[in-house]
Symmetry: C2
Subunit: 327 residues, 2 copies
């Protein structure tokens, strides 16, 4: 449809004029892939993503290779892309990871906290507070390095947890406050299992504001497990959020349904933002081509609906005409 | 996740307290299925849908069997379900279809108009105005039958058209006005190719209000081809719309991408509405079970993300724990 004046740009009241997309496909998207993606392919993926106009592309993770074998090549990958004229944040789980990232010249890092005890235990084998204590020197040293490394704090399970169910808002606010107090520059509010709905999103954002957390330091990270990611994003934009995480092609498996998707697909997000007349700087056609290419590398179709629709587009074809028959 | 307090019900300001879902799975969802679904299976599908708490279930279409072979059994199907305590609208393309529907006791019918010339030509082999002229006696006779048959006017291609691109809002408003003037009780605004975004939706709704079309007669019918359906629905709800079309399990092929979905999945809609504390009367668990059953009948997985997630749910299992590992 692109190129036919679609989506038609019609701004809506109360929305930002510009949104920064924090692209997580190369890290969050690939990390659970079972088949090892060659380093050169990852580098090419990041290069192509940068060519679409995306300005913040999370490149990899400096975790212990034992935990995320897919990203064990962080040392090899990062130098291949670090010259690109985009921001390239990397995940660092601890001081060792920070050391490795800084040694390669990374100037944006991210730590990964949990709002719930169950997930902190499952993912980090620590309590929430033990995990925060582990991040404290990481953030402190990052901020003290040179003119200061930018630190993002991921917070997972902000809305629901697979073991605990609904997560109380005050519990999330407390961990957000702690991450900011230790020096994080921005937070990414993660709906890791995709259960949030728009009212819940607005409630959390308002509660954070009440605790003097400005919306400007908040990003949202929605998963599409229940199809809610874009509606939740719209609600967040209406609240004033201007940083949205998304994964090119919808890369990133859903924990409970192999056939369903995890991360919000960047293309579906860009379609909506373009339709709302909100500037992202992203060329949707190039992005779709990049995700279609990556889907080819992984050997399976992209779960992004926009990628599928634009990759199969043939509006003049017989198939299209026939399928449109209603009677 | 249902049963674990998820989705957590958190109302948002400015939304309706109750929404009526117009379930289209048995008609719109099945009509393009290539494999013939036995009449008894269709009847069981409608019965199970009624058992979920849905109150308006579009049952079938009295079109000429040549055009929609899948629904050629309308005469056999309707009597099997007409005793159910729910509204059972049926599609009638012309006076002949109306005669057939009325003979079986149908008290709710729907006509199917197009906002664009290209689709009117492709679907009805008529101009937009010729199609409207064809519907006029249908609506007139329906309203004059007994104490009056309820008439819904479907309007397709309200936002974009595969041949014409973006559809001008005034063009849509004109056809809406004509359908109401001839006596339609309600309209369903269709985004047949799924290209709409929230600002465009709000613009059309506002333009209709300006032409003295009250929001109370408007339903929205979004397709998820580009993943926009639920975000568009949220915008429509914020405008005051309280009738939303959806298809159980997301049944209904997307014209341009066999692997992608067409209709908004009722389960994804119910998840959002339940999360927003909006009453629908629908039991989500039963609905998911119904769609999973129907997917089994069709021999392929449901495209509804909520159906997939809840059908595969195993939060305590090893797979869940492993997949949640972030580092």
């Amino acid at each position: 449809m692109t190129g036919r004046g679609l989506p038609m740009a019609v701004p809506a009241a109360g929305l930002p004029t510009r949104v920064r997309i924090h692209e997580v496909g190369a890290r969050d998207g690939l990390q659970n892939e079972k088949v090892t993606v060659p380093t050169q392919v990852k580098a090419e993926f990041v290069r192509r993503l940068a060519g679409t106009g995306l300005t913040t592309i999370e490149a990899t993770s400096f975790v212990h290779p034992k935990w995320v074998p897919q990203l064990a090549d962080a040392e090899q990958l990062f130098p291949l892309v670090s010259g690109l004229p985009v921001e390239l944040p990397v995940l660092v789980p601890n001081e060792r990871g920070l050391d490795r990232a800084l040694a390669l010249g990374a100037r944006r890092v991210a730590v990964f906290a949990s709002a719930t005890e169950s997930f902190a235990k499952a993912n980090l084998n620590r309590t929430v507070d033990e995990a925060l204590a582990m991040f404290e020197p990481v953030v402190e040293r990052a901020k003290a390095d040179g003119d200061g490394v930018h630190v993002r704090g991921y917070l997972s399970m902000c809305f629901g947890d697979p073991w605990e169910g609904a997560v109380p808002v005050p519990q999330v606010v407390r961990v957000c406050r702690a991450l900011l107090d230790m020096g994080c520059d921005e937070l990414s509010l993660g709906d890791t299992i995709g259960v949030a709905t728009p009212g819940h999103v607005l409630q959390l954002l308002a509660a954070l504001n009440e605790e003097h957390v400005p919306t400007s330091v908040l990003g949202v990270h929605f998963h599409d497990t229940y199809g809610q990611a874009l509606a939740n994003t719209l609600a967040a934009l209406q609240h004033g959020v201007t940083t949205v995480d998304a994964s090119a092609g919808g890369l990133g498996g859903c924990p409970f349904a192999k056939s369903a998707t995890g991360n919000l697909a960047t293309e579906d997000l860009v379609w909506m933002l373009q339709g709302l007349g909100i500037d992202t700087g992203v060329d949707l056609g190039r992005l779709v081509a990049t995700s279609a290419w990556m889907a080819g590398q992984l050997g399976r179709p992209s779960p992004s609906r926009t990628v599928r629709a634009l990759s199969h587009e043939d509006p003049e074809g017989q198939e299209g005409r026939e399928a449109h028959k209603e009677q």
